[in-house]
């Protein structure tokens, strides 16, 4: 278990990279006033493209700038420049950085995490003239969360990281990180099924349509389907309570939005149930939800209530409230999708400084 140091600003590393199954997230931390990012072509590339000084951003790449911790004054915070690109575009990233290459650039160390960190280590080190210091993914997420919300290391936290799959991570008051539970029913399950069963082209499109046009219950087996509407009332069960998710997927009148809505509710309900049970076992009254599913990678700033991540967060909040009868809260860090990359910097810096 790696001890966490939330505010270890004595950082030697400035750049963190989180290589996931689908997306690569890169963040550059810049302390106030410091702008030494010009020292290495990778750092300057990220600085410029994230600040959108570069002008030309490839399709599917997203950039943003934010400050952490959330809500702290400028003097105490760090500027965060973020770049998100598809994992399949790693070679394009290397090409672009090489275009800006200056002779005599020294090899620097960068922090890395995510499932693909080891897979892509050699490629990145050769192509970018860097040395990867790899942090374990869950350590990174936990450290990133602490950095993002500015949590004191005394608090016990339960983190539910919802990406491709689901990991439930407990961070105890000593900062020890432990994966206590998890599930293979993750974000990719939802999207994999949705993609197979509907014509939606993107995850966001499917989620937004589910909220806007989907009719809940049309694809599910409801209590009234089993007992009949009148009897349900007689025996004291709400007729529209779901008895079996997706049990009526064979109905003729289903739209893509109905299917997407049903799949989303199934997934989120299950997620909420697992999180609530684990929270009870871990004796905490809040669960922090992180990962690509609860916050789109590109969306680190303000977003509308109708955006896909906002819809997902609302659904999770409701599911957690349902399963805990309101006794456990679902909480969301602002830079949820970037926590791995941010945390990689902190987790590896802490290790290196020991």
């Amino acid at each position: 278990m790696t001890p966490l140091k939330a505010n270890s600003l004595s950082t030697q590393l400035a750049l963190g990279i989180d290589i996931g199954g689908s997306l690569v997230k890169v963040v550059l931390e810049e302390g106030d006033g410091s702008s030494d990012s010009a020292q290495h072509p990778l750092l300057s590339f990220v600085h410029n493209i994230a600040s959108q000084n570069d002008g030309e951003i490839p399709d599917g790449w997203k950039c943003s700038v934010a400050r952490i911790p959330e809500g702290s004054s400028d003097a105490n915070s760090t500027t965060l420049r973020a770049l998100v690109l598809p994992t399949a575009d790693i070679s394009l990233l290397i090409d672009k950085v090489k275009n800006n290459w200056r002779t005599g650039a020294r090899t620097i160390r960068i922090a890395a995490t995510g499932g693909g960190a080891l897979n892509h280590k050699a490629t990145l080190e050769r192509g970018l003239c860097v040395e990867l210091v790899v942090a374990k993914e869950l350590d990174a997420v936990a450290a990133g969360l602490a950095a993002d919300i500015g949590a004191s290391s005394e608090e016990q936290m339960l983190v539910c990281n919802v990406g491709t799959g689901v990991s439930l991570v407990s961070v105890d008051s000593q900062g020890n990180v432990e994966r206590v539970s998890g599930s293979g029913i993750g974000g990719a399950t939802f999207w994999g099924l949705t993609k197979r069963l509907t014509n939606f082209k993107s995850f966001d499109q499917a989620v937004v349509a589910a909220k806007k046009d989907g009719v809940l219950g049309k694809a599910d087996t409801l209590v009234e389907d089993i007992y009949g509407r009148e009897t349900s009332k007689e025996i004291g069960l709400a007729p529209d309570l779901v008895a079996g998710f997706l049990g009526k997927l064979d109905a003729d009148n289903l739209t893509d939005a109905d299917v997407s809505a049903a799949l989303l509710r199934m997934f989120v309900s299950n997620l909420g149930q697992l999180a609530v049970f684990q929270a009870r076992l871990s004796k905490v009254d809040a669960v922090w939800f992180t990962g690509g599913f609860v916050q789109s990678a590109e969306d680190t700033g303000e977003e509308s209530e109708c955006s896909a991540p906002a819809i997902v967060r609302q659904a999770i909040t409701e599911a957690v409230s349902f399963w805990s009868a309101g006794s456990i809260a679902a909480q969301f860090p602002r830079n949820a999708a970037l926590l791995g990359a941010i945390g990689a910097i902190h987790a590896t810096s802490a290790t290196l400084s020991e």
């Binding site: 799959g165 539970s181 599930s183 990719a188 998710f245 997927l249 299950n270 697992l274 049970f277």
Partner: protein, 798 residues
Amino acid sequence: MMFGGINSTGAIIDGIKKGEANDILLPNQKERVQKVAVDIGGSLAKVVYMTSGPRHQGGRLHFTAFETDNVEQCVKFMHKLLDGDDEREGTERPVIMATGGGAHRFRDLLSSERRVEIRVEDEMESLTAGLNFLIREVADEVFTYAEDRPMEFVEAGAEDEFPYMLVNIGSGVSILRVAGEGQFERISGTSLGGGTLWGLLHLLTGERSFDAMLGMTKSGDNTKVDMMVGDIYGNDYGKIGLKASNIASSMGGVYRKTLDKQYDDADIARSLLYMVSNNIGQIAYLNAQLHGIRRIYFGGYFIRGHPLTMHTLSYAINFWSKGQMSALFLRHEGFLGATGAFFKTEPRAEAAEENGLEVAADVSEEEGAVADSLGAAMAAATTHRVEERVAADAAASTGGRRRGRRGTAAAAKTYSFTENFSIAGSITDAVGSLGMLDRAPARLMALPQLASSAAQPYQPDTVDLTRAPQLQAYWISAMERNTHGLLELAADGALELGGEARLTQFVALYLDHLRRLRERPLAYGAMSVRALLGLREQCLHEVGLDDIFASIKRRETDAALAALPPLLAHVDAISSPRDRLRLLLHNVLAGNMFDWGSTALRGALANGSLDLERARDQITWRDSFANADRFLDRVDHGPAYARALVFVDNSGADVCLGVLPFARFLVAHGTSVVLAANSRPALNDVTESELLAIVRRAALVDECIAQAVDDGRLVVCGTGSSEPCLDLRKLDERLVRLSHGADLVVIVGMGRAIHSNYHARFSCDSLKLAVFKNQMAADAAGAHIYDALCKYVPGSGT
């Protein structure tokens, strides 16, 4: 027409005659259907009903199922079952106990027959009542499952049974905490259940039938559509205990364009089955953790004995509990609700039930009297007296016979059942078959002197054939040979058959079962010699061959009783009690050689070349299996035994010349003796009523026996069994009452002391007397054929 593996044409017909769906025949048209229960779920309607008739006094419980889509057919079936009820006196309407969602949804359809009364029962209450009943009454009901260790049966009904958790998986999933009989609460559940899997698979594969979908999972490869830990990490993620082969994200591989794997419907089917089962297992485990529960039963029709489903649920429970817990499955998994509803009785119905039992008890006593007029008077007298004595011993108020009977009726509210596989409905490959449940005429209970602990639980069977394929093949072949031997005996005219047809029917039926067992050893629960022998008796009785050895037994008993007076005179002439007892022990073993169940001895018995003297000479006494001297020491030097319980074996020379003189010795030395014989016929084993007659006839020629009978110090009692082996957990409650205060248990014969109970331990002294008359049984024990087993073990205390 099979679906879900269950024979929907009325499971009872399988094996003898298959009827059409709308032409359901009862095995015996004279049988009466008392009551029907149905659990109508989202996909299946499960029916449980009881028949009774001249052959099944106590009643027989049947299990069958229909697809809910064909619910009209199901209702028609039930109404037809209740049709035959017209002859019943009184004005009470026949009843259908209905539970499950469909009980409400199809209420009008159920009530379409006006003369039938519909009682709707609470679903969860029925489920838990059914589960409690099944784990208490049915042998080998509970099992664990893993691909490499399919179906390991679990001893149920242990003291730590409650509280347990029931995860009932139907369209959705209900999780119940059961704290005791009638005490349960729904603690959680999930709507991500069977309906979800069905809906997804239907849309993704176009397949409609759940069974066809499950069939697809067998050939599918989920790694083609799932994202595996290895797909992300390249290898194991050791730190968090994830292997490269673990699923990181179900169906997640479809989403990742970089995986670009070719996949088909079967891959998706397997992936989704894993997804749903894994998730249910995880939620079940989390609930167990939150409620501090260690036993998790999985039920509901989602499981339907599908190996992959059970394997995944087991894997999930095992994985999350780090190997500390196992998923428990039930052979009657689909029938919990219907079974529970069946036994739900209204107060007034209960009163009627009690009356019914009283009548049944009278009838069976009458039958006994008719069967053996000689012993009848004494039977009643003995029973009467001993029960009074026992009642007095137990410091209960004396009330005589009537009081005793009433007690029986009250106690029998919790009936005992034996599973009868003679006509078995099959369900699926993995789970095997469901038999019929025959209600025992009496409540069956464990022998109080049985020493059984959690560390060393009592297990009647000496060898578990399930885990020994070679022994399995040997015993199945031995049973086949033995069955053909019966045909030879029949050809000689030695058997009582009441017509050739029945024996032919029996041979076909039993050999068919043996063939099935050869292919699927677990088809009828754990396989043992006891089970194979028991199944043979069930098949004989089923085709109407109640007692094929009746005339052989009569003949041999007559011959043996004629030899009794000189034998007793010879024994009494021996002056030393020790030598006398030693001879008597030798005679018990010699008598035990007169066994028509032994293929090795049948020839000698048939040509009359065996006598007691010669039999005694054939037996070898070795120290490793015979410690007669220790028993003789105990009798010589210790206080007289207060009461001995003697489980007897064969009729003829065995019981007349071996056991009876031995019992006479004990009685003469101040011990009261209870002779326990099978309640109903099996092979040439002596039955309770036959033994009563034998004792009565012996009393006519021997003063000592007569006196002991008169004083109630020599008593005959039925064991409640009709099998050649013996399960000491299931004894007639009257015998259990009589056994209170017994400080010596004697078990005679190979079936009861070698094939079963060889390892049984007792809190009081015990003596096992038998001869290894079978090569394989001898080999298994490290003995030689015709070695004596005379094993005396002092009681372990309590």
